[in-house]
Amino acid sequence: MMLPQYFVLAGIVIVVIGFALRLNPMLVVTVAALATGLIAGKGIVEVISLLGKAFNDNRAIAVVWIVLPVIGLLERFGLKERAATTIRRFKAATAGRLLILYLLFRQLTAALGLNSIAGHPQTVRPLVAPMALAAAEQQHGGIEVESQEDVKAFAAATDNVGNFFGEDIFIAIGSIVLIQSTLATYGYRLAPLDLAIWAIPTAIAAFLIHSFRLLRLDRRLRRKRK
C-alpha cells in the first residue's frame, strides 16, 4: 500500500537507517532534510533556504555554550577534584543515593520554573558526574572503566529525567502553553493550573521508577567488585 503521500516519510527512513548504521549524524540529518524537501515538491534553492531560516531561528540553542569558559576555568583550578574530595567526606554516600538526591533537587527546582539553573554543561560535567564517580570509587575501591561509563551515563540520564518530569508542574513552561493553545483551538479553554496539576502523578512515578533503578546501579557496582 505505497501511496504517494507516504513518500514524504523518506526523510524518516534516511534518519533511522543512518543512525542504525552509525553514519555521521550531521550528514544523515542534512541529507534527510534535503530529500524530504525535494520529495515534497520544493526546489533545491527553496529547501536550502528553508533549512537556513530554520537553523537561524533556532540559534537560541547555541547560547547555552556561553557557560563553557567558566566551567573550563573552574576545571583548570581543580573543581572536579574538589567535588570528588567533598563527596568522600560523606562515608554513606553512594553513586545511586547521590543521584537520587540530585533527581529530587532537579525535579523540585524545575517544578518551580528554575530548570535553567542546572544542566549537562553547568552541573553534570563539573559536579554531579565527578561526585558520583568519587562516591562509587570510595564504596567499591577503584572501579573498572565499564562501571565508570555506567555511572557517568546515569548521571546524565538523571538530569534528563529530573528536568523533563519536573518542568510541566510549573505553569509558565512552554509545553503547558502549547497544550493550552492547541486544545483552545478546539474550544477547550483550560487554565495552565488545570494542566500543571495533572503532571504531578507522572512526576512522582518518574521519581520512584528512576530512584529504584539508581539503587539497582549501586547493587550492580557492588556485584562487579566481587
Binding site: V8, V29, G52, A60, G113
Partner: protein
C-alpha cells in the same frame, strides 16, 4: 532594550575566539577544519540576521560538510596538569564552588526578579528571552570573579572553553540542525501523514486501544522529531481531540497534560533529542555515543506504561 541579538553576539564573539585559537593550534593536525567550523558558528551568531535565508542555508551545508566528513580534530589548548589541579583544589577548598554557583544564582535571582517584581514590566529585556540574558550575565560575572581572584592568563577563558567545545565537536551544533530538520518535516506535511496512519490502525469503539495508539503515536513521533512539541498538535488533531475527548468524553486536561508527558518518554529514547542524549555523551566523554539513551530505556518504558494507565483511570472516570 536588550534583544536576543546581545546574547547571540556575545556567544558569536566567543566562537570567534575558539576559531582564532584553533587556527594557531599546531598540535591539531586538522586545525583549519576546527577554525572553519567554529568560525562559521561565529558568523551565524553575529550576522545570521543579515545573511538571508539562502546565505544561512549555505552556511548550514558548509557546517554539515566540515563536521560530517571528519575534517575536525581535537585541539590541545594550554591548561593545568592533574597534579596542579589537585594542589589547587586542596588550597582553594570549598571556596572553589562559589564561582560555579554564580551562574545558577544569577539565573535564579534574575528569573524571580523578572517574574515577581515590577522589574519585568520595565521592558529592559526582550520578552520570553530573559533566561538567555541572565545566563550570559551570570557567565560574565563568574569569569570576572575568577580573574579577580585567581588571575589566570588572559587567554585562559577562551582556551579552556575551546578545550571543552573540542571535546564535544560537531555534536555541539547537531541540536540546532535537528531543530531545522523538524521545520522541514513540518513544511513537507510529515505530521499529517503520521497522524493519518496512526488513526487508520485504530479499532472502533475500544477506548483502551485508542488510548494506546495515541500514546505510542506520541512517543514514536517524538522520537522521530526529537521533541514532543511537534508531536502533540499532530496527535491531538488525529486522535486526542476527535476520539478520546469528543467521542469517548475523556477529560481534556488529563489527556493533554499526561499525553504530553507520554511524548517526553520518547524524548528519553532518541538520538534526535541531541542536546539531551548525544551532547552529554560527548561532554562526559563516554565511549558509547548512545550510552545515555541506553541508561534511560529502563526508566522510559515503565513510565510510558504508567502514563497510559494514569490517563485511562483519571480521564475516563
Amino acid at each position: 532594550m536588550i534583544t536576543m541579538q546581545w546574547p547571540y553576539s556575545l556567544v558569536g564573539l566567543m566562537f570567534g575566539g575558539f576559531a582564532f585559537y584553533s587556527a594557531l593550534d599546531r598540535d591539531n593536525r586538522k586545525r583549519f577544519g576546527n577554525a572553519a567550523f567554529w568560525g562559521l558558528m561565529a558568523l551565524s551568531l553575529l550576522a545570521g540576521s543579515w545573511l538571508g535565508d539562502l546565505g544561512n542555508g549555505v552556511l548550514v551545508l558548509a557546517l554539515a560538510a566540515i563536521g560530517g566528513f571528519g575534517l575536525m580534530g581535537r585541539g590541545a589548548p594550554e591548561t593545568t596538569s592533574q597534579g596542579e589541579r589537585l594542589t589547587w583544589a586542596h588550597q582553594l577548598g570549598d571556596r572553589l564552588y562559589l564561582p560555579a554557583l554564580v551562574i545558577p544564582a544569577v539565573a535564579l535571582a534574575g528569573t524571580l526578579a523578572f517574574k515577581y517584581t515590577p522589574l519585568g514590566t520595565l521592558g529592559w529585556i526582550e520578552p520570553q528571552r530573559e533566561t538567555f540574558v541572565f545566563l550570559c550575565v551570570g557567565s560574565l560575572l563568574a569569569v570576572a570573579i575568577i580573574f579577580a581572584w585567581l588571575k589566570p592568563p588572559p587567554s585562559a577563558p577562551l582556551q579552556e572553553g575551546r578545550r571543552l567545545i573540542d571535546a564535544i565537536g560537531w555534536a555541539a551544533v547537531l541540536p540546532q540542525l535537528l531543530a531545522a530538520l523538524g521545520v522541514v518535516f513540518a513544511a513537507a506535511g510529515v505530521g499529517e501523514v503520521i497522524g493519518g496512519a496512526a488513526r487508520s490502525v485504530i479499532p472502533e469503539g475500544n477506548v483502551f486501544l485508542t488510548l494506546l495508539v495515541f500514546g505510542v503515536g506520541m512517543a514514536l513521533f517524538t522520537m522521530i522529531m526529537g521533541n514532543a512539541f511537534a508531536a502533540f498538535p499532530v496527535m491531538a488533531a488525529a486522535i486526542g481531540v476527535p476520539l478520546l475527548i469528543q467521542a469517548y468524553h475523556g477529560n481534556p486536561a488529563v489527556i493533554g497534560a499526561i499525553g504530553m508527558l507520554t511524548g517526553f518518554c520518547g524524548t528519553l529514547l532518541t538520538p534526535m533529542a541531541a542536546n539531551f542524549n548525544v551532547v552529554p555523551a560527548a561532554l562526559l566523554e563516554l565511549k558509547d555515543r548512545n550510552g545515555v539513551i541506553k541508561a534511560q530505556i529502563g526508566t522510559a518504558l515503565p513510565l510510558f506504561a504508567v502514563n497510559i494507565l494514569l490517563i485511562y483511570f483519571l480521564a475516563f472516570r
